[in-house]
């Protein structure tokens, strides 16, 4: 015992000694960061005065842009097209998990290290990421971006709480549902999207038909691969903001989706696959699940790579979801305050998101630009097809059928925490087959109160 007192005393003395050291150092530190800041500000002022951002850059312009991202095909398609126009521009790309966006940016900010010149932001954590002190406001000089250039339903997803436009959506991410034509024909007697939409006006009819399928197939064919993605789809149909001031509106926003999810589970119409696991991916090639949520990016990302047969049989179709469609996913491009060549960064973002050339590059990988004008300048951009979907014009369907049916919600700072907690609940519901919707609701509230103690949970 005597020994341990000795040890603790030694430790305490050491700490007090070092405390003096720190007091000296920390004041020095704050000075140095201040001077750093003023340097960068001067730098940016210079570029402002020397350049007109509304004009295109000369084609022999030289420069380098850094980016951290998670969507390699998108990155390749867009930068290749850009470099064709500006051959002397180079890109440095760092792969990053989209779930790590907040962590990486805030680490860089806290440690004062380099942020990417062109910064991406995924929808899940975007509200928080946009609050970081790292974004150029694109709606102001010198960029003077006019937000009405892009589809209106995206506007709330591109601004932060101060009304600054921190990024422009890479592409439209509308999601309806995809269905297996062969299975639809077998169980519903039709594979026409219009007919099916009539058959499934709401989730009630979805459940009723699902039970028929369950009986007919002896429980081998499901309506949907997993509970979590079904739950996510339904809750996003709400289109209402989750958090109002310091109140999280849980009952209003999630009761219905939890009720339906439980009903799906109890009627056995949904399989048990956990979203984004190998089995879930593989399910797209197995022909055991009739429907799945389908955003524009789902086609090249989840359906095509996992369903080798689909390329020749074209056995997929796209339709409006019962009770409306959702905006699913989405990533913005913005300019960081520390960007070394803001002129070039803006040129690139404008090219990638607003220009017709950029839209063509997107179209080549099956994505739809979020800007309105390119579709007017080149109407063929409205259309794209995938062999997996036969001759259905996916582009036109997304634009003309799916998008008008989307309710979009405003973002809140702690959406990412709510989202993460909902995942937790979905997992529990999937595993504990006896849990009722009310129990799930109670659990959700309890978890949120733990995770976000500063809010009232309603």
């Amino acid at each position: 015992m005597k020994k341990s007192i000795n040890k603790i005393a030694a430790l305490a003395i050491a700490m007090t000694m070092a405390a003096g050291l720190i007091a000296g150092c920390s004041t020095k530190n704050s000075e140095s960061t201040d001077s750093d800041k003023s340097v960068t500000q001067e730098g940016s002022n210079e570029t402002v005065s020397s350049d007109d951002y509304s004009q295109p850059l000369p084609e022999d312009y030289e420069g380098t842009l850094t980016m951290w991202g998670w969507d390699d095909p998108y990155y390749k398609a867009v930068t290749d097209a850009f470099m064709k126009k500006y051959p002397n521009v180079k890109f440095e790309y760092t792969p990053m998990a989209n779930g790590d966006t907040l962590q990486k940016y805030q680490t860089a900010l806290a440690t004062g290290t380099e942020l990417p010149d062109v910064a991406w932001s995924i929808i899940d954590s975007r509200a928080k990421v946009f609050e970081l002190d790292m974004w150029e406001d694109l709606s102001h000089a010198p960029y003077n971006f006019d937000i009405s250039e892009v589809y209106e339903y995206l506007h709330p997803k591109m601004v932060n709480s101060k009304g600054q436009v921190c990024g422009i959506e890479q592409s439209l991410c509308p999601a309806g549902i995809a269905y297996r034509k062969d299975l639809a024909k077998e169980y519903f007697g039709t594979d026409d999207p219009k007919e099916l939409e009539k058959m499934f006006p709401d989730w009630k009819s979805f459940i009723a038909k699902g039970q028929e399928v369950y009986e007919k197939s002896g429980g081998t064919i499901y309506m949907w691969p997993g509970l979590a993605d079904a739950q996510q789809f339904i809750r996003e149909q709400g289109g209402k903001t989750w958090i109002d001031g310091t109140v999280i509106k849980v009952t209003e926003n999630f009761q219905r989706s939890l009720n339906l999810t439980c009903e799906f589970r109890d009627t056995n119409i949904v399989d048990k696959l956990e979203a984004w696991t190998p089995a879930w991916y593989a399910s797209f090639g197995e022909g055991k699940h009739i429907f799945a949520g389908c955003a524009t990016w789902s086609v090249p990302f989840t359906i095509e790579p996992n369903d080798p047969e689909g390329e020749t049989t074209g056995h997929w179709g796209l339709m409006n979801a019962p009770e409306g469609n959702i905006s699913w996913g989405g990533t913005t491009l913005g300019i960081s305050k520390t960007c070394k060549d803001k002129r070039l960064a803006w040129e690139f973002i404008r090219f990638a998101t607003l220009s017709t050339e950029g839209a063509k590059a997107l179209n080549s990988i099956g994505l739809l630009t979020s800007a309105i004008k390119p579709y007017e300048e080149a109407p063929e951009l409205k259309s794209f097809k995938s062999k997996w979907f036969g001759d259905q014009d996916l582009g036109a369907y997304f634009l003309d059928e799916i998008i008008p049916n989307i309710k979009s919600r405003n973002m809140n700072l702690d959406d990412n925490v709510v989202h993460e907690t909902l995942n937790l609940i979905s997992t529990t519901l999937n595993n504990d087959r006896n849990m009722t919707a009310d129990q799930a609701m109670a659990k959700l509230k309890e978890e949120l109160e733990m995770k976000l103690p500063d809010y009232t949970v309603e």
């Binding site: 020994k3 000795n6 040890k7 603790i8 030694a10 430790l11 050491a14 150092c25 530190n29 140095s32 998670w70 390699d72 760092t94 792969p95 990053m96 998990a97 989209n98 790590d100 990486k104 680490t107 860089a108 806290a110 440690t111 004062g112 290290t113 380099e114 190998p278 089995a279 991916y281 593989a282 090639g285 790579p305 996992n306 080798p308």
Partner: protein, 271 residues
């Protein structure tokens, strides 16, 4: 009868050894399969996609992580060994004011979890402009209480003080005595400590993830974590990356297991 008894000993040991190795087997197996084969879940047999998978991850820049980890861990090991050996030498050979206090002090700080300083250290490194370099990963090893403790234990038991005395009488300087007499005597401890620090540095994940943001600076653990993103749906490539990240180091340590195992045990048994 004796044989039967021996068998009774061997069987549980064999079972445990097989369990120890099974995960590695499946990682190698995964590295040899294509994604769709992995989806089907039959990994008992090896497949034929090893070369493709390895090519994929080498193109993804995985060798760079290797080099980063390797040199960072090596320098960390050397730094820790030297500084710890000097400090331990001072604490065992000399009698001086404050010796007792310092020994206790170092011992006490072994009880403090390193993560407690993580936030402060990260900000300190920021102020020193060392973020996105490997220097922060190395510097901490100059302050390893465990290193000092480890070498002190060894010195106490295996360095005859008479040897130092006679060197002094022969007129050898203090530093030379340390380098030419003490260091060679404790070579096994130095080797072991180097291997341990190398390993810890190699495996470290938390600190690199707060001080490194550029992918060309990543070390192996960060590389492994990022893989999940770079190859979202290429499970074969993920397997290959895991295999490449894990196996060579295991083979090297198996070859040197004689020293390593002894060293691992020494700290505990003598302490």
């Amino acid at each position: 009868m004796i044989k039967l008894k021996k068998l009774l000993f061997i069987i549980p040991l064999l079972v445990i050894s097989v369990i120890s190795l099974i995960p590695f087997y499946f990682i190698i197996s995964m590295a040899t399969h294509s994604t769709s084969e992995i989806y089907q879940g039959n990994l008992l047999m090896f497949g034929g996609k090893l070369v493709e998978n390895i090519q994929t991850i080498i193109e993804g820049g995985f060798l760079r992580y290797y080099w980063n980890s390797f040199y960072t861990a090596s320098i960390s090991g050397i730094l820790c060994v030297f500084i710890s050996a000097m400090a331990a030498y001072a604490l065992t050979i000399y009698r001086f004011k404050g010796r007792e206090f310092l020994s206790n002090f170092i011992l006490a700080s072994m009880m403090i979890p390193g993560q407690i300083s993580l936030i402060g250290y990260t900000i300190e490194m920021k102020n020193l402009n060392l973020i996105n370099t490997h220097i922060p990963l190395i510097l901490v090893w100059g302050a390893s209480a465990y290193g000092v403790f480890f070498i002190t234990q060894y010195l106490k038991n295996s360095l005859p003080k008479e040897l130092i005395e006679s060197a002094r009488i022969d007129g050898s300087g203090e530093f030379r005595t340390f380098i030419s007499i003490a260091m060679p005597m404790i070579r096994p401890a130095i080797g072991t400590l180097f291997m341990l620090v190398f390993l810890w540095s190699w495996n470290n994940f938390l600190m690199p993830s707060t001080v490194l943001t550029q992918s060309n600076k990543f070390t192996i653990p960060l590389g492994i974590q990022t893989l999940a993103t770079a190859y979202t749906q290429d499970w074969g490539a993920r397997g290959a990356a895991l295999a490449i990240a894990v196996l060579p180091i295991l083979i090297i340590f198996s070859i040197g297991s004689k020293y390593f195992i002894k060293g691992l045990a020494a700290g505990a048994v003598k302490g």
